[in-house]
Symmetry: C2
Subunit: 74 residues, 2 copies
Amino acid sequence: MSSGPELGLATMYRLIKKSGAERVSDDAADELQKILEDVAEKIAKQAVDLSVHAGRKTVKSEDIRLASKNILKL
Amino acid sequence: MSSGPELGLATMYRLIKKSGAERVSDDAADELQKILEDVAEKIAKQAVDLSVHAGRKTVKSEDIRLASKNILKL
């Protein structure tokens, strides 16, 4: 199922820089990439389950929203 | 500080498709994009604070890791 990272490393650097970092280690960008990919996959998988549960074949924003609540402390 | 989304919509579609979705609404991809951008920004900002707290100018993977623990239920 996984075929390499979907999110780019350059994007990760930029995101950390934008948040006020003076310097960003390569490892830090790698780590953020891994974590975001993991979060995205967990939300997406749960959203698919929720759409099936609701008798739909289409994943909708409400599925993504509910799935994210179970994964984020936000 | 924010200057448009860093994560692409096509990537969001692909991530949800890869998780087993038959169909994905436009709203769902939008929603996942918004959520991931928000998570990334929150983790990055907290990681910057943690690096400063540790007396460093460089954000390291350990900062990202600790910051993510405060934001994710994973």
